[in-house]
């Protein structure tokens, strides 16, 4: 009979192996799903995972897209992972992403048409600040009133989406846009545009920020006392309290950092790839980043790799929509499946599976 035995500490081998195994299992299960949809599973998997990078026909377009899509995912996921490690569940990153974009774009639009070097840096500051401020709402409610940050941060996503719609239709609407919803295109306003730094690479300031965030988070978690406190609070909350770690301070810091990073991700997106504040600006990066954070084992370097992989499924998903007529939602289901397999396989790193005789102890 199968019996589970808790390991004293998680197995390092399994912790590293489970994401890979989960991806393989998701490919198999996804293949079955694609077959059920009446598509050739092998072709679908090839188009999603191989063609965006190596097909001579599409790679020239797809490869730069990889960085464009991965940057916001990594930026948000790095922030979320800090909180997740400490048992602080910010699941409203989508809202912070939207508010960062609105705040940053607002500054850019206010300066229009000034051509000065300081416009973009100010927008970056405003973007981070907008996301931070939006995350401070659940943080303060949690520390002051013990309200669940899970529910508050999530409910605020719907509020942020309503604000986004009102901005696109009202305050920020392009006065020269002929009454169509949506703001001026920031990508066409040089002082505010977040353009590619190296043409054809997809590398924009958001990619740079994501790399800095990964490095900073690695140092924070391994070398800084705050990183130690975060890990301690997650693994042994009681011990953390005896060690003098203030839970409230951690809540404010973790939510603040993840909110600011999500806000930055929103700003870089609105000033670059998206170009403008529009009703459908929110693109679920904030939710997908949760999968990225877990897939990367809440480890900054792991998140870097997971973000690239998840970006690949986005691009491959678009490609398979175009080539196979695979529905867009299939990729979303595919990503959800990945998270299921990952969570299920976590068992292997936390428990040892033992065979015992029937009825034996």
């Amino acid at each position: 009979m199968l019996r589970l035995e808790k390991r004293p500490s998680p197995s390092r081998v399994w912790t590293a192996a489970t994401p890979v195994l989960a991806v393989v299992l998701t490919m198999i299960a996804g293949g079955v799903m694609f077959a059920l949809l009446g598509k050739n599973p092998f072709e679908a998997i090839r188009i999603i995972f191989w063609d965006p990078l190596f097909s001579p026909q599409f790679a020239s377009y797809s490869r730069p897209q990889l960085l464009v899509k991965a940057a916001p995912l990594i930026l948000i996921a790095v922030g979320l992972s800090l909180g997740f490690r400490a048992g602080i569940w910010n699941i409203g990153a989508e809202g912070q992403y939207i508010m960062g974009a609105i705040a940053g774009a607002g500054v850019g639009l206010a300066f229009y048409p000034v051509q000065a070097w300081y416009v973009f840096p100010l927008m970056v500051l405003a973007g981070g600040f907008g996301g931070w401020l939006w995350a401070m709402i659940p943080a303060l409610l949690r520390t002051r009133f013990a309200t669940s940050e899970i529910l508050v941060s999530l409910l605020l996503v719907y509020v942020a989406q309503a604000i986004l719609a009102s901005m696109a239709l009202g305050l920020m609407r392009n006065p020269e846009g002929g009454g169509f919803p949506g703001s001026r295109n920031l990508a066409q306003y040089p002082a505010a545009a977040n353009l590619e730094l190296i043409v054809g690479s997809g590398m924009h300031w958001g990619v740079v920020a994501a790399l800095i965030a990964v490095i900073a988070a690695t140092i924070l978690l391994q070398r800084h006392i705050l990183g130690f406190q975060i890990r301690l609070a997650g693994q042994a909350p009681r011990a953390a309290r005896f060690a003098g770690v203030s839970p409230n301070r951690l809540v404010v810091l973790c939510l603040g950092i993840s909110g600011a990073l999500a806000g930055l991700a929103g700003l870089f997106e609105v000033a670059g790839p998206a170009g403008q504040i529009s009703i459908d600006f929110g693109s679920n990066y904030g939710f997908t980043a949760i999968i990225v954070a877990f897939l990367g084992r809440l480890n900054p370097i792991g998140i870097l790799l997971a973000g690239l992989l998840m970006a690949l499924t986005y691009i491959g998903g678009e490609l398979s929509q175009f080539l196979l007529g695979l529905p867009a939602a299939a990729i979303q289901a595919f990503q959800g499946m990945l998270l299921f397999f990952l969570l299920a396989l976590d068992l292997l790193s936390n428990y040892r599976i033992r065979w015992t005789a029937w009825g034996g102890r």
């Binding site: 013990a146 719907y158 509020v159 309503a162 604000i163 990729i331 998270l339 068992l347």
Partner: protein, 310 residues
């Protein structure tokens, strides 16, 4: 703006209808949480119920079978949660989130080609002369059967939890799973059953959205109702009748803001439509602070996984 266009009796009647999805989902989640399990996937289970119910109703032409389909769809998704958290001991918060993300994707996948179709309509329950009572008849006796079912479910859950042996065992499992295990109760089996019940109820609620409230299929149709149901459980301090109060309050705000929109209020539509979420947050804050802290009444083992080491 013309406030006289808003008829109070119709308003109350329509708030009862607006609250049904949340009543059903929240009472299901209440049972799950009373068993000590925190399933954050309510939104995902609701939307699965919405699409499965819609497909079943369109395919069979019967709204009743539609609701059955919705319940089955929600329960099927919750089964994934049950296996992951109860047998594979996965983190409940993360698994619940995964359930929502997966449910949103799969429902959109199934729902392809169902856009713009009208589901078979469901008539009001014929209550004869009762429906003709002025005011009261409009408010209470001109609804479809699901409205009455939702109230009946609340009453049933209340009675079972309070007076029956099964309810006592369920609560014991939720308060202290180690003690319940030592007494010989099958903690995991009870929790799995509770999770399936929660999934079926969320699925029913979702089916009500796509079959009656809206009634058609669009992606993301539940629009956060599942999350509000989770908040209502906290608001209700895990008591069945308070779930009804909370859901009706929320339904009232939703209906009122829709009426204000229709009446041409000066407030922009976007701000009116965010009001239910803001008020839910406000209510959560009030409930979780102060003397009557809701968190103090939460089941003691809420969110903790059970692993029988002996």
């Amino acid at each position: 703006m013309d406030l006289s266009a808003i008829n109070p009796a119709v308003l109350v009647a329509s708030l009862m209808v607006a609250a049904v999805p949340i009543v059903l989902a929240a009472i299901g989640e209440l049972v799950v949480e009373k068993a000590g399990v925190l399933n954050l996937g309510v939104e995902g289970m609701m939307i699965m119920g919405a699409i499965c119910g819609f497909v079943a109703a369109v395919a069979t032409g019967s709204p009743v079978l539609g609701f059955v389909g919705g319940a089955v769809g929600g329960a099927a998704l919750s089964l994934i949660f049950a296996v992951l958290t109860q047998y594979l001991l996965a983190n409940q918060v993360a698994t619940g989130l995964a359930l929502t993300l997966f449910g949103l994707g799969v429902s959109a996948l199934i729902g392809q080609g169902y856009n713009g179709i009208k589901p078979p309509s469901i008539g009001d329950l014929p209550l004869g002369p009762l429906a003709d009572i002025p005011v009261l008849g409009t408010i209470l006796f001109r609804h479809d059967w699901v409205v009455y079912l939702s109230i009946a479910v609340i009453a049933a859950v209340w009675a079972v939890l309070k007076y029956s042996r099964a309810g006592l065992v369920l609560r014991a499992v939720g308060e202290n799973h180690d003690a319940a295990h030592a007494l010989g109760y099958k903690v995991v089996r009870i929790r799995v059953l509770a999770i399936l019940f929660g999934g079926a109820m969320a699925g029913l609620g979702g089916a009500y959205v796509s079959l009656i409230r809206v009634p058609q299929w669009t992606d993301g149709i539940t629009a956060g109702a599942g999350w509000i149901a989770l908040a209502i459980v906290v608001f209700a301090s895990w008591r069945p009748w308070r779930v009804l109060i909370g859901a009706y309050l929320f339904g009232g705000i939703t209906v009122l803001q829709l009426n204000l929109q229709a009446a041409g209020a000066r407030i922009p539509v976007e701000y009116l439509s965010m009001s239910p979420y803001l008020i839910t947050i406000l209510v959560l804050v009030i409930m979780s602070s102060g003397r009557g802290r809701a968190s103090a009444q939460a089941p003691a083992a809420l969110g903790q996984n059970f692993h029988a080491s002996r």
